[in-house]
Protein backbone atom coordinates (compact mmCIF):
# COMPACT_ATOMS: atom_id res chain seq x y z
CA UNK A 1 0.00 0.00 0.00
CA UNK A 2 0.92 3.58 -0.57
CA UNK A 3 2.90 4.69 2.51
CA UNK A 4 1.50 8.18 2.42
CA UNK A 5 -2.06 6.90 2.69
CA UNK A 6 -1.02 4.71 5.62
CA UNK A 7 0.63 7.64 7.35
CA UNK A 8 -2.48 9.68 6.73
CA UNK A 9 -4.74 6.94 8.14
CA UNK A 10 -2.62 6.73 11.31
CA UNK A 11 -2.55 10.51 11.66
CA UNK A 12 -6.33 10.59 11.50
CA UNK A 13 -6.54 7.78 14.08
CA UNK A 14 -4.65 9.94 16.56
CA UNK A 15 -7.57 12.35 16.55
CA UNK A 16 -10.06 9.44 16.78
CA UNK A 17 -11.17 9.78 13.19
CA UNK A 18 -11.11 7.66 10.07
CA UNK A 19 -11.07 8.25 6.32
CA UNK A 20 -14.86 8.11 6.12
CA UNK A 21 -15.43 10.15 9.27
CA UNK A 22 -16.22 7.27 11.63
CA UNK A 23 -14.83 6.85 15.13
CA UNK A 24 -12.27 4.07 15.65
CA UNK A 25 -14.64 1.49 17.07
CA UNK A 26 -17.69 2.47 15.09
CA UNK A 27 -19.30 0.17 12.52
CA UNK A 28 -20.72 1.41 9.27
CA UNK A 29 -24.49 0.99 8.97
CA UNK A 30 -25.30 -2.69 9.51
CA UNK A 31 -28.43 -4.11 7.96
CA UNK A 32 -29.67 -7.67 8.47
CA UNK A 33 -32.48 -8.97 6.29
CA UNK A 34 -33.81 -12.44 7.05
CA UNK A 35 -35.22 -14.79 4.39
CA UNK A 36 -33.37 -13.07 1.57
CA UNK A 37 -33.83 -15.92 -0.90
CA UNK A 38 -36.79 -18.24 -1.19
CA UNK A 39 -34.97 -21.30 -2.56
CA UNK A 40 -32.87 -21.76 0.58
CA UNK A 41 -34.17 -23.39 3.75
CA UNK A 42 -32.93 -20.35 5.62
CA UNK A 43 -31.15 -17.23 4.49
CA UNK A 44 -30.03 -13.77 5.41
CA UNK A 45 -28.52 -10.85 3.62
CA UNK A 46 -26.15 -8.66 5.55
CA UNK A 47 -24.94 -5.26 4.46
CA UNK A 48 -22.21 -3.45 6.35
CA UNK A 49 -21.80 -0.15 4.57
CA UNK A 50 -21.25 -1.17 0.95
CA UNK A 51 -20.20 -4.70 1.88
CA UNK A 52 -23.00 -7.01 0.79
CA UNK A 53 -23.24 -10.77 1.48
CA UNK A 54 -25.93 -13.44 1.33
CA UNK A 55 -25.91 -16.60 3.41
CA UNK A 56 -28.19 -19.43 2.37
CA UNK A 57 -28.80 -22.82 3.92
CA UNK A 58 -29.53 -26.12 2.22
CA UNK A 59 -30.11 -29.28 4.19
CA UNK A 60 -29.16 -32.81 3.21
CA UNK A 61 -29.80 -36.14 4.85
CA UNK A 62 -26.79 -38.41 5.10
CA UNK A 63 -25.10 -41.08 7.17
CA UNK A 64 -23.51 -39.83 10.40
CA UNK A 65 -19.74 -39.74 10.78
CA UNK A 66 -18.56 -43.00 12.40
CA UNK A 67 -17.19 -41.18 15.47
CA UNK A 68 -20.50 -39.46 16.22
CA UNK A 69 -23.34 -41.80 15.24
CA UNK A 70 -26.02 -39.77 16.99
CA UNK A 71 -25.02 -36.32 15.80
CA UNK A 72 -25.80 -34.28 12.74
CA UNK A 73 -23.44 -31.58 11.59
CA UNK A 74 -22.95 -28.26 9.88
CA UNK A 75 -20.74 -27.26 6.98
CA UNK A 76 -19.78 -23.72 6.05
CA UNK A 77 -18.61 -22.57 2.64
CA UNK A 78 -17.67 -19.05 1.61
CA UNK A 79 -17.66 -18.02 -2.03
CA UNK A 80 -15.45 -15.02 -2.78
CA UNK A 81 -17.33 -14.47 -6.02
CA UNK A 82 -15.33 -12.70 -8.73
CA UNK A 83 -18.50 -10.65 -9.20
CA UNK A 84 -17.88 -8.94 -5.87
CA UNK A 85 -14.36 -7.58 -6.28
CA UNK A 86 -11.70 -7.11 -8.96
CA UNK A 87 -9.32 -8.97 -6.62
CA UNK A 88 -11.21 -12.29 -6.68
CA UNK A 89 -10.75 -14.86 -9.41
CA UNK A 90 -12.79 -17.80 -10.65
CA UNK A 91 -11.61 -21.24 -9.67
CA UNK A 92 -11.22 -23.40 -6.59
CA UNK A 93 -11.52 -21.66 -3.20
CA UNK A 94 -8.48 -19.56 -2.33
CA UNK A 95 -6.73 -19.87 1.04
CA UNK A 96 -8.49 -16.67 2.03
CA UNK A 97 -11.93 -18.12 1.26
CA UNK A 98 -11.11 -21.28 3.20
CA UNK A 99 -9.85 -19.35 6.22
CA UNK A 100 -12.99 -17.22 6.18
CA UNK A 101 -15.25 -20.26 5.96
CA UNK A 102 -13.45 -22.05 8.76
CA UNK A 103 -13.62 -19.05 11.10
CA UNK A 104 -17.37 -18.71 10.50
CA UNK A 105 -17.73 -22.48 11.03
CA UNK A 106 -15.79 -22.46 14.31
CA UNK A 107 -17.65 -19.46 15.67
CA UNK A 108 -20.88 -21.44 15.40
CA UNK A 109 -19.60 -24.95 16.14
CA UNK A 110 -17.49 -24.12 19.20
CA UNK A 111 -20.17 -21.93 20.77
CA UNK A 112 -22.24 -25.09 21.31
CA UNK A 113 -25.26 -22.94 20.57
CA UNK A 114 -26.51 -25.68 18.32
CA UNK A 115 -27.10 -29.15 19.72
CA UNK A 116 -25.82 -31.49 17.01
CA UNK A 117 -27.77 -34.34 18.62
CA UNK A 118 -30.98 -32.55 17.61
CA UNK A 119 -29.92 -33.06 14.00
CA UNK A 120 -30.00 -36.84 14.34
CA UNK A 121 -32.86 -38.57 12.54
CA UNK A 122 -31.96 -42.20 13.28
CA UNK A 123 -28.87 -43.08 15.26
CA UNK A 124 -26.11 -44.59 13.20
CA UNK A 125 -28.13 -44.26 10.01
CA UNK A 126 -29.50 -40.85 9.14
CA UNK A 127 -28.62 -37.34 10.19
CA UNK A 128 -29.23 -33.82 8.92
CA UNK A 129 -26.29 -32.01 7.40
CA UNK A 130 -26.92 -28.28 7.51
CA UNK A 131 -24.90 -26.55 4.81
CA UNK A 132 -24.39 -22.81 5.09
CA UNK A 133 -23.02 -21.10 2.02
CA UNK A 134 -22.03 -17.46 2.20
CA UNK A 135 -21.76 -15.65 -1.13
CA UNK A 136 -20.11 -12.25 -1.37
CA UNK A 137 -21.99 -9.80 -3.61
CA UNK A 138 -19.82 -6.75 -2.95
CA UNK A 139 -16.57 -6.65 -1.01
CA UNK A 140 -16.08 -3.28 0.63
CA UNK A 141 -14.12 -4.68 3.57
CA UNK A 142 -14.80 -6.65 6.76
CA UNK A 143 -16.04 -9.83 5.11
CA UNK A 144 -15.32 -11.78 8.31
CA UNK A 145 -17.94 -10.04 10.41
CA UNK A 146 -20.45 -9.80 7.58
CA UNK A 147 -20.15 -13.49 6.68
CA UNK A 148 -20.40 -14.65 10.29
CA UNK A 149 -23.39 -12.43 11.00
CA UNK A 150 -25.17 -13.59 7.84
CA UNK A 151 -24.49 -17.24 8.70
CA UNK A 152 -25.92 -17.05 12.23
CA UNK A 153 -28.92 -15.00 11.04
CA UNK A 154 -29.60 -17.58 8.31
CA UNK A 155 -29.45 -20.37 10.89
CA UNK A 156 -31.96 -18.51 12.99
CA UNK A 157 -34.38 -18.22 10.07
CA UNK A 158 -33.96 -21.81 8.91
CA UNK A 159 -36.93 -24.18 8.57
CA UNK A 160 -36.50 -27.87 7.87
CA UNK A 161 -38.01 -29.23 4.68
CA UNK A 162 -40.35 -32.18 4.95
CA UNK A 163 -38.59 -35.55 5.29
CA UNK A 164 -40.74 -38.57 4.61
CA UNK A 165 -40.03 -42.12 3.45
CA UNK A 166 -36.28 -41.45 3.20
CA UNK A 167 -36.86 -38.48 0.90
CA UNK A 168 -36.58 -34.74 1.33
CA UNK A 169 -39.40 -32.72 -0.18
CA UNK A 170 -37.78 -29.29 -0.53
CA UNK A 171 -41.04 -27.83 -1.80
CA UNK A 172 -42.64 -28.38 1.60
CA UNK A 173 -41.09 -26.45 4.43
CA UNK A 174 -42.12 -27.48 7.92
CA UNK A 175 -42.37 -24.98 10.77
CA UNK A 176 -39.60 -26.75 12.62
CA UNK A 177 -36.51 -24.59 12.97
CA UNK A 178 -33.19 -24.91 14.73
CA UNK A 179 -32.96 -24.30 18.42
CA UNK A 180 -30.14 -21.87 19.04
CA UNK A 181 -29.18 -21.62 22.70
CA UNK A 182 -27.13 -18.50 22.15
CA UNK A 183 -26.04 -16.21 19.34
CA UNK A 184 -22.27 -16.30 18.82
CA UNK A 185 -21.16 -13.07 17.15
CA UNK A 186 -17.80 -12.46 15.50
CA UNK A 187 -16.06 -9.12 15.61
CA UNK A 188 -12.78 -8.53 13.85
CA UNK A 189 -10.56 -6.01 15.59
CA UNK A 190 -7.77 -4.50 13.54
CA UNK A 191 -4.49 -3.07 14.68
CA UNK A 192 -2.91 -0.33 12.60
CA UNK A 193 0.09 1.43 14.15
CA UNK A 194 -0.76 1.47 17.86
CA UNK A 195 -4.50 1.94 17.36
CA UNK A 196 -7.39 -0.51 17.24
CA UNK A 197 -10.39 -0.24 14.96
CA UNK A 198 -13.38 -2.38 14.01
CA UNK A 199 -15.12 -2.81 10.66
CA UNK A 200 -12.20 -1.87 8.42
CA UNK A 201 -13.15 -0.83 4.91
CA UNK A 202 -11.20 -1.90 1.80
CA UNK A 203 -8.75 0.96 2.09
CA UNK A 204 -8.01 0.33 5.78
CA UNK A 205 -7.67 -3.41 5.18
CA UNK A 206 -4.65 -2.69 2.98
CA UNK A 207 -2.96 -0.95 5.91
CA UNK A 208 -3.50 -3.50 8.68
CA UNK A 209 -0.66 -4.72 10.86
CA UNK A 210 -2.66 -7.42 12.63
CA UNK A 211 -6.23 -8.52 13.05
CA UNK A 212 -7.97 -10.59 15.67
CA UNK A 213 -11.38 -12.09 15.04
CA UNK A 214 -13.16 -12.64 18.34
CA UNK A 215 -16.31 -14.75 18.57
CA UNK A 216 -18.26 -14.32 21.79
CA UNK A 217 -21.56 -15.33 23.41
CA UNK A 218 -24.14 -13.05 24.99
CA UNK A 219 -22.57 -13.41 28.46
CA UNK A 220 -19.18 -12.39 27.07
CA UNK A 221 -17.66 -15.89 27.00
CA UNK A 222 -15.26 -16.31 24.09
CA UNK A 223 -15.88 -19.24 21.76
CA UNK A 224 -13.40 -18.85 18.90
CA UNK A 225 -10.56 -16.60 17.84
CA UNK A 226 -8.23 -16.16 14.91
CA UNK A 227 -5.26 -13.89 14.54
CA UNK A 228 -4.22 -12.69 11.14
CA UNK A 229 -1.94 -10.08 9.63
CA UNK A 230 1.83 -9.96 9.32
CA UNK A 231 2.68 -8.36 12.65
CA UNK A 232 2.74 -9.84 16.17
CA UNK A 233 0.54 -8.79 19.09
CA UNK A 234 1.51 -8.14 22.72
CA UNK A 235 -0.50 -9.43 25.71
CA UNK A 236 -1.92 -5.96 26.23
CA UNK A 237 -2.94 -5.78 22.57
CA UNK A 238 -4.80 -9.07 22.88
CA UNK A 239 -6.64 -8.04 26.05
CA UNK A 240 -7.66 -4.74 24.52
CA UNK A 241 -8.81 -6.36 21.27
CA UNK A 242 -10.82 -9.05 23.07
CA UNK A 243 -12.50 -6.37 25.15
CA UNK A 244 -13.48 -4.39 22.06
CA UNK A 245 -14.66 -7.58 20.35
CA UNK A 246 -17.00 -8.56 23.19
CA UNK A 247 -18.34 -5.03 23.52
CA UNK A 248 -19.11 -4.61 19.82
CA UNK A 249 -20.65 -8.08 19.59
CA UNK A 250 -23.41 -6.87 21.90
CA UNK A 251 -24.41 -4.23 19.35
CA UNK A 252 -24.44 -6.68 16.45
CA UNK A 253 -26.35 -9.33 18.40
CA UNK A 254 -29.30 -6.95 18.79
CA UNK A 255 -29.69 -6.87 15.00
CA UNK A 256 -30.25 -10.63 14.78
CA UNK A 257 -32.61 -10.96 17.74
Amino acid sequence: MNNQIRTHIIKLFNSDRRLDGRKLTEYRKVDVQLNATSTAEGSARVKIGETDVIAGIKTEVMEPYPDSPSEGSIMVGVELLPLSSPDFESGPPSARAVELARIVDRGIRESKCLDFKSLCIKEGEKIWMVIIDVCIINDAGNLFDAAALAAIAALKSMRFPEYKDDKIDYKKKTDKGLELKDLPIEVTVIKIGDKFIVDADSEEEKAIDARLTVASLSDGTLCAMQKGGDFPLTDEDICKMVEIGIEKAKELRKLVK
Binding site: A36, T37, G56, K58, L83, P92
Partner: protein, 233 residues
Protein backbone atom coordinates in the same frame (compact mmCIF):
# COMPACT_ATOMS: atom_id res chain seq x y z
CA UNK B 1 -56.36 -32.57 -23.40
CA UNK B 2 -55.75 -28.97 -24.16
CA UNK B 3 -53.84 -26.48 -22.03
CA UNK B 4 -56.73 -24.07 -21.48
CA UNK B 5 -55.41 -21.73 -18.86
CA UNK B 6 -51.87 -21.26 -17.65
CA UNK B 7 -51.10 -23.01 -14.39
CA UNK B 8 -49.85 -19.70 -13.03
CA UNK B 9 -52.90 -17.70 -14.15
CA UNK B 10 -50.91 -15.52 -16.56
CA UNK B 11 -52.03 -14.65 -20.09
CA UNK B 12 -50.28 -16.76 -22.72
CA UNK B 13 -48.09 -13.85 -23.82
CA UNK B 14 -47.52 -12.45 -20.35
CA UNK B 15 -44.19 -12.62 -18.53
CA UNK B 16 -43.76 -12.94 -14.80
CA UNK B 17 -43.28 -9.75 -12.80
CA UNK B 18 -40.01 -8.04 -13.73
CA UNK B 19 -37.77 -5.83 -11.62
CA UNK B 20 -34.50 -4.34 -12.79
CA UNK B 21 -31.88 -2.11 -11.26
CA UNK B 22 -28.52 -0.88 -12.50
CA UNK B 23 -25.43 -0.09 -10.43
CA UNK B 24 -25.99 -2.55 -7.58
CA UNK B 25 -22.38 -3.67 -7.01
CA UNK B 26 -20.16 -0.68 -6.16
CA UNK B 27 -16.84 -2.54 -6.65
CA UNK B 28 -17.67 -3.49 -10.24
CA UNK B 29 -17.11 -1.29 -13.29
CA UNK B 30 -20.73 -1.92 -14.22
CA UNK B 31 -23.49 -3.97 -12.63
CA UNK B 32 -27.17 -4.76 -12.65
CA UNK B 33 -29.87 -6.84 -11.04
CA UNK B 34 -32.67 -8.43 -13.05
CA UNK B 35 -35.51 -10.32 -11.43
CA UNK B 36 -38.25 -12.15 -13.28
CA UNK B 37 -40.69 -13.97 -11.03
CA UNK B 38 -38.61 -16.04 -8.62
CA UNK B 39 -35.54 -16.00 -10.85
CA UNK B 40 -33.08 -13.43 -9.67
CA UNK B 41 -29.83 -12.53 -11.44
CA UNK B 42 -26.91 -10.25 -10.60
CA UNK B 43 -24.33 -9.31 -13.20
CA UNK B 44 -21.04 -7.50 -12.71
CA UNK B 45 -18.67 -6.26 -15.41
CA UNK B 46 -14.94 -5.85 -14.82
CA UNK B 47 -12.82 -4.34 -17.55
CA UNK B 48 -11.63 -3.81 -20.10
CA UNK B 49 -8.64 -5.12 -18.13
CA UNK B 50 -5.44 -7.04 -18.75
CA UNK B 51 -5.94 -10.55 -20.00
CA UNK B 52 -3.93 -13.45 -18.64
CA UNK B 53 -2.76 -15.96 -19.73
CA UNK B 54 -1.23 -14.02 -22.59
CA UNK B 55 -1.94 -16.53 -25.34
CA UNK B 56 -5.67 -15.74 -25.03
CA UNK B 57 -5.04 -12.13 -26.03
CA UNK B 58 -6.28 -10.85 -29.36
CA UNK B 59 -4.13 -7.98 -30.70
CA UNK B 60 -6.97 -6.79 -32.94
CA UNK B 61 -9.67 -6.39 -30.29
CA UNK B 62 -10.74 -7.06 -26.73
CA UNK B 63 -12.49 -10.29 -25.87
CA UNK B 64 -15.67 -10.90 -23.88
CA UNK B 65 -15.67 -13.54 -21.16
CA UNK B 66 -18.92 -14.53 -19.44
CA UNK B 67 -19.30 -16.66 -16.37
CA UNK B 68 -22.73 -18.05 -15.39
CA UNK B 69 -22.90 -19.41 -11.86
CA UNK B 70 -25.69 -20.48 -9.54
CA UNK B 71 -25.19 -19.80 -5.84
CA UNK B 72 -25.20 -23.08 -3.87
CA UNK B 73 -28.62 -22.33 -2.32
CA UNK B 74 -30.27 -20.95 -5.46
CA UNK B 75 -32.12 -24.08 -6.48
CA UNK B 76 -35.36 -25.15 -4.83
CA UNK B 77 -34.06 -28.73 -4.93
CA UNK B 78 -30.66 -30.06 -3.85
CA UNK B 79 -27.73 -27.78 -3.09
CA UNK B 80 -25.78 -26.79 -6.19
CA UNK B 81 -22.15 -27.73 -5.73
CA UNK B 82 -19.85 -24.73 -6.06
CA UNK B 83 -17.63 -24.55 -9.10
CA UNK B 84 -18.34 -24.89 -12.78
CA UNK B 85 -20.35 -27.72 -14.30
CA UNK B 86 -20.96 -28.85 -17.88
CA UNK B 87 -24.25 -26.97 -17.77
CA UNK B 88 -22.78 -23.72 -16.46
CA UNK B 89 -19.94 -23.85 -18.99
CA UNK B 90 -22.36 -24.19 -21.89
CA UNK B 91 -24.60 -21.41 -20.63
CA UNK B 92 -21.58 -19.15 -20.11
CA UNK B 93 -20.62 -19.77 -23.72
CA UNK B 94 -24.05 -19.07 -25.24
CA UNK B 95 -24.36 -15.99 -23.04
CA UNK B 96 -21.11 -14.69 -24.51
CA UNK B 97 -22.41 -15.28 -28.03
CA UNK B 98 -25.70 -13.59 -27.17
CA UNK B 99 -23.97 -10.40 -26.04
CA UNK B 100 -21.01 -10.17 -28.40
CA UNK B 101 -22.85 -8.91 -31.54
CA UNK B 102 -23.89 -5.64 -29.89
CA UNK B 103 -20.49 -4.87 -28.36
CA UNK B 104 -17.66 -3.02 -29.98
CA UNK B 105 -14.38 -4.05 -28.37
CA UNK B 106 -12.10 -2.93 -31.20
CA UNK B 107 -10.71 -0.14 -29.03
CA UNK B 108 -9.33 -2.58 -26.47
CA UNK B 109 -6.73 -4.88 -28.05
CA UNK B 110 -5.24 -7.58 -25.81
CA UNK B 111 -7.84 -6.90 -23.11
CA UNK B 112 -10.77 -8.73 -21.64
CA UNK B 113 -14.20 -7.65 -20.48
CA UNK B 114 -15.30 -10.03 -17.74
CA UNK B 115 -18.98 -10.53 -17.02
CA UNK B 116 -19.90 -12.47 -13.90
CA UNK B 117 -23.50 -13.59 -13.56
CA UNK B 118 -24.74 -14.95 -10.24
CA UNK B 119 -28.10 -16.17 -9.02
CA UNK B 120 -29.28 -15.96 -5.40
CA UNK B 121 -32.47 -17.81 -6.40
CA UNK B 122 -33.78 -19.45 -9.55
CA UNK B 123 -36.98 -20.87 -10.90
CA UNK B 124 -36.73 -21.40 -14.68
CA UNK B 125 -35.47 -18.93 -17.25
CA UNK B 126 -32.19 -18.22 -15.49
CA UNK B 127 -29.99 -17.94 -18.60
CA UNK B 128 -32.36 -15.33 -20.06
CA UNK B 129 -32.48 -13.36 -16.80
CA UNK B 130 -28.68 -13.56 -16.68
CA UNK B 131 -28.37 -12.17 -20.21
CA UNK B 132 -30.77 -9.30 -19.41
CA UNK B 133 -28.74 -8.41 -16.31
CA UNK B 134 -25.43 -8.74 -18.19
CA UNK B 135 -26.52 -6.45 -21.02
CA UNK B 136 -27.51 -3.80 -18.49
CA UNK B 137 -24.24 -4.22 -16.61
CA UNK B 138 -22.25 -3.73 -19.83
CA UNK B 139 -24.17 -0.52 -20.52
CA UNK B 140 -23.64 0.58 -16.91
CA UNK B 141 -19.90 0.00 -17.39
CA UNK B 142 -20.01 2.56 -20.19
CA UNK B 143 -18.86 0.25 -22.95
CA UNK B 144 -19.60 1.09 -26.59
CA UNK B 145 -22.75 -0.80 -27.58
CA UNK B 146 -24.98 -0.79 -30.64
CA UNK B 147 -28.03 -1.86 -28.67
CA UNK B 148 -29.05 -3.67 -25.51
CA UNK B 149 -29.91 -7.36 -25.45
CA UNK B 150 -33.17 -8.62 -23.99
CA UNK B 151 -33.96 -12.28 -23.46
CA UNK B 152 -36.89 -14.45 -22.49
CA UNK B 153 -37.85 -18.06 -22.84
CA UNK B 154 -40.83 -18.89 -25.02
CA UNK B 155 -42.28 -22.23 -25.91
CA UNK B 156 -45.13 -24.51 -26.18
CA UNK B 157 -47.16 -26.21 -23.49
CA UNK B 158 -49.43 -28.80 -25.04
CA UNK B 159 -51.42 -27.00 -27.78
CA UNK B 160 -50.63 -23.46 -26.60
CA UNK B 161 -47.74 -21.12 -27.31
CA UNK B 162 -46.51 -19.32 -24.21
CA UNK B 163 -44.04 -16.68 -23.09
CA UNK B 164 -41.75 -17.04 -20.06
CA UNK B 165 -42.33 -20.62 -18.94
CA UNK B 166 -42.06 -21.23 -15.23
CA UNK B 167 -40.99 -24.43 -13.52
CA UNK B 168 -44.45 -26.03 -13.56
CA UNK B 169 -44.86 -25.38 -17.27
CA UNK B 170 -41.40 -26.68 -18.10
CA UNK B 171 -42.28 -29.90 -16.33
CA UNK B 172 -45.88 -30.16 -17.61
CA UNK B 173 -46.61 -33.81 -18.19
CA UNK B 174 -50.03 -33.99 -19.81
CA UNK B 175 -48.82 -32.90 -23.23
CA UNK B 176 -45.70 -32.04 -25.20
CA UNK B 177 -43.57 -29.09 -24.06
CA UNK B 178 -40.96 -27.06 -25.87
CA UNK B 179 -38.69 -24.61 -24.08
CA UNK B 180 -37.00 -22.03 -26.29
CA UNK B 181 -34.75 -19.44 -24.69
CA UNK B 182 -34.18 -16.55 -27.06
CA UNK B 183 -32.26 -13.31 -26.83
CA UNK B 184 -32.45 -10.45 -29.24
CA UNK B 185 -31.21 -7.00 -29.97
CA UNK B 186 -34.52 -5.12 -29.73
CA UNK B 187 -33.69 -2.26 -32.09
CA UNK B 188 -32.37 -4.46 -34.88
CA UNK B 189 -34.87 -7.26 -34.31
CA UNK B 190 -32.09 -9.82 -34.61
CA UNK B 191 -31.84 -12.99 -32.57
CA UNK B 192 -28.55 -13.55 -30.72
CA UNK B 193 -29.45 -16.62 -28.67
CA UNK B 194 -31.65 -19.49 -29.70
CA UNK B 195 -31.85 -22.83 -28.01
CA UNK B 196 -34.61 -25.35 -27.84
CA UNK B 197 -35.54 -28.44 -25.90
CA UNK B 198 -38.70 -30.29 -26.79
CA UNK B 199 -41.06 -30.79 -29.69
CA UNK B 200 -42.54 -28.10 -31.91
CA UNK B 201 -43.62 -27.63 -35.55
CA UNK B 202 -41.92 -25.05 -37.75
CA UNK B 203 -45.16 -23.04 -38.01
CA UNK B 204 -45.44 -22.91 -34.23
CA UNK B 205 -41.78 -21.96 -33.95
CA UNK B 206 -42.23 -19.01 -36.29
CA UNK B 207 -45.23 -17.79 -34.33
CA UNK B 208 -43.65 -18.25 -30.92
CA UNK B 209 -40.48 -16.37 -31.92
CA UNK B 210 -42.74 -13.45 -32.88
CA UNK B 211 -44.28 -13.62 -29.41
CA UNK B 212 -40.81 -13.69 -27.90
CA UNK B 213 -39.73 -10.64 -29.86
CA UNK B 214 -42.69 -8.73 -28.54
CA UNK B 215 -41.90 -9.76 -24.97
CA UNK B 216 -38.24 -8.79 -25.46
CA UNK B 217 -39.31 -5.30 -26.53
CA UNK B 218 -41.24 -4.93 -23.27
CA UNK B 219 -38.27 -6.24 -21.29
CA UNK B 220 -36.03 -3.79 -23.16
CA UNK B 221 -38.19 -0.91 -21.90
CA UNK B 222 -37.72 -2.11 -18.31
CA UNK B 223 -33.93 -2.40 -18.82
CA UNK B 224 -33.76 1.04 -20.39
CA UNK B 225 -35.78 2.60 -17.59
CA UNK B 226 -33.53 1.04 -14.93
CA UNK B 227 -30.44 2.43 -16.67
CA UNK B 228 -32.01 5.87 -17.01
CA UNK B 229 -33.03 5.83 -13.34
CA UNK B 230 -29.46 4.99 -12.40
CA UNK B 231 -28.14 8.08 -14.15
CA UNK B 232 -31.25 10.16 -13.44
CA UNK B 233 -31.85 10.89 -17.11
Amino acid sequence: MAYKERLNGRKFDETRKIEAKAGVIPRADGSAMFKIGNTWAYAAVYGPRNLHPKFLQDPSKGILRCNYNMMPFSSSGDRVRPGSSRRSKEISLVTEKALLPILDLSEYPNSVVDVFIEFPQTEAGSRCAGICAAAMALADAGLAMKDLVAAVSVGRVDDKLVVDLDYNEESYEEGPVADIPIAMSPNYGKVTLLQMDGLISKEQLKKVIEMGKKACKDIYEVQKKALKDRYKI
